[in-house]
């Protein structure tokens, strides 16, 4: 199975690897997946509370090259977006951008889950109503 150039690029130069301070009120943390599944993504966002815009995003992933690329791409897309726009990111956008083969589509789904989980965590910390399926 050959990887697409985009996946290789993200894998060799992952964007925004790291950790934000999860105790801060304006940081949302999403932790999805499970070690037994071979895929765990932790995605964090730091939101400007005044404007509702995501100023910073960081990730760490335990998983294959496509999983790492998907989460790296996600952090790239999140920076500068409003929280509401970030909710609209769909896994198929990731599949298209990275040219993921069918067998790797689930990596993009997990990345979308991670985004939504991070947003849900942020909203919960800030007393905003959270739709129940966001934390599924």
């Amino acid at each position: 199975m050959a990887y697409s150039n985009k996946v290789l690029e993200h894998f060799q130069n992952p964007r925004n690897v790291g950790t934000l301070d999860k105790s801060k009120k304006n940081v949302g943390t999403g932790l999805v997946g499970a070690p037994e599944c071979g895929d765990v993504m932790r995605l964090q966002i730091e939101v400007d509370e005044a404007t509702g815009v995501i100023q910073d995003a960081k990730f760490k992933t335990f998983g294959c090259g496509s999983a790492i690329a998907s989460s790296s791409l996600a952090t790239e897309w999140l920076k500068g977006k409003s929280v509401e726009d970030a909710m609209k990111i769909d896994n198929m956008d990731i599949v298209e951008e990275l040219a993921l083969p069918p067998v790797k589509i689930h990596c993009s789904v997990l990345a979308e889950d991670a985004i939504k989980a991070a947003i849900a965590d942020y909203k919960q910390k800030n007393g905003v109503e959270v739709a129940s399926e966001a934390t599924a």
Binding site: P14, V32, P35, E36, C37, G38, C64, D113, T135
Partner: protein, 405 residues
């Protein structure tokens, strides 16, 4: 890093030894005859070449050349052995005992036979990969016709207690079949010595060509027969029809001869290199060697690097170094290695495993380079891994409620 390519995946397949290919070439061109052509020199030469190869293979096994049947490879040999015994001995019984860690060529064949009235017991293994001999003996019943246990495991290299299994089978009058694909040509595999009655193997794991293998079928005490699975002409004493792959067989014979001469020194050299590799990794944190380290092939090590996923890890060096992993992401089925799972590893360690299988053409420089490259890759992946970070912070990962997808 350019053109350097290091091959440490010899359990998947091996390159041909140049001496093997040299022996084969004439049989593609000037000596291209069909070994079954009885009426002219082309056929006679081909038959002679096949007979000679049969002797070379028999010698490697400490067997008689009449006990060697040529096939297209170990998968076919496994099918012939298991289905062939089931068909031939159906009046005696229908129960087969095998092990959960066998190769798919054995497991899928047994599965298939279950749909045709076979009863199959799949024995568990202990955490080190060895079967429990008492469990095996307890599983034998009056209608048991076959015990099938692989000599050495392809993923972990673990070697089963063959002589003891042979004794149990002898005691209960049950046939003992072994898929010895990973052992033949690398360690001594004399079926008669351990009580194996039928044995499968292939050329491409011992520096021979792909597409040719053999089945050893005991002719004396006991005289075993298997019902042919390939019909049409009655070749190979009626047990396997089909025009013989003369060049392939010549290659297999040559590979067997070379193995007989060089096996011991290869094993000594490779086990030292394998140990060097293992020692190097043991200096890292959270490293687990999978499978019994004493009863193991000399050239194999299967290692889990905790909190790092196998396919991702391989991506850090796979342009230069060839290895295999037990990770789900590297399998067509998206399931983690069933062998490692049977050892009780836990899926996360199965996903984190790499198999190093050295070979005749592996140099010490290859091993030194691979050790550094893989270590570097592991450290890089751990920097990216949220669960490594959590482990370092002292978080008990077993207590987390994962939001599985």
């Amino acid at each position: 890093m350019g053109a350097r390519k290091i091959y440490l995946d010899n359990n998947a397949t091996t390159p041909c030894d140049p001496r093997v290919v040299d022996a084969m070439v004439p049989y593609f061109f000037e000596h291209h005859g069909n070994a079954a052509s009885r009426n002219h020199p082309f056929g006679w030469e081909a038959e002679e070449a096949v007979d000679y190869a049969r002797e070379q293979v028999a010698k490697l096994l400490g067997a008689d050349e009449k006990e060697i049947i040529f096939t297209s490879g170990a998968t076919e040999s496994d099918n012939l052995a298991i289905k062939g015994v089931f068909d031939m001995y159906s009046r005696k019984g229908n129960h087969i005992i095998t092990v959960k860690t066998e190769h798919k060529a054995v497991l899928d064949t047994c599965n298939k036979l279950e749909k045709h009235g076979a009863e199959v017991t799949y024995l568990n293994v202990q955490p080190d990969g060895l079967i429990d001999l008492a469990e095996l003996e307890a599983a034998i019943k009056p209608n048991t016709i076959l015990v099938s246990v692989m000599w050495a495991n392809n993923e972990t290299g673990v070697i089963q207690p063959m002589k003891e299994i042979g004794q149990i089978c002898e005691k209960h009058g049950v046939l003992f079949f072994s898929d010895a694909t990973q052992a033949v040509g690398k360690i001594k595999t004399h079926p008669r010595e351990v009580g194996v009655h039928i044995m499968a193997f292939t050329a491409h794991k011992m520096y021979g060509p792909k597409g040719v293998g053999a089945l050893y079928v005991s002719r004396k005490s006991p005289r075993v027969k298997v019902t042919a699975q390939m019909d049409g002409g009655g070749h190979e004493r009626g047990m396997r029809s089909g025009t013989l792959n003369v060049p392939g067989i010549v290659g297999l014979g040559k590979a067997a001869e070379i193995a007989m001469q060089e096996m011991e020194q290869d094993a000594a050299r490779l086990s030292r290199l394998r140990d060097k590799l293992e020692q190097g990794f043991k200096e890292m944190e959270e490293i687990y060697i999978n499978g019994n380290v004493e009863h193991r092939m000399p050239h194999v090590t299967n290692i889990s690097f905790k909190h790092v996923e196998g396919e991702g890890l391989m991506m850090t060096f796979n342009q230069e170094i060839a290895l295999s992993s037990g990770s789900a992401c590297t399998s067509a089925s998206l399931e983690p290695s069933y062998v490692l799972v049977a050892l009780g590893l836990g899926d996360d360690l199965a996903h984190s495993s790499l198999r190093f299988s050295l070979g005749r053409f592996t140099t010490e420089a290859d091993v030194d380079y691979a050790l550094e490259a893989v270590k570097k890759g592991v450290n890089h992946m751990r920097d990216l891994s949220p669960i490594w970070e959590m482990y370092k912070e002292g978080v008990d990962l077993t207590k987390i409620e994962w939001a599985e997808h």
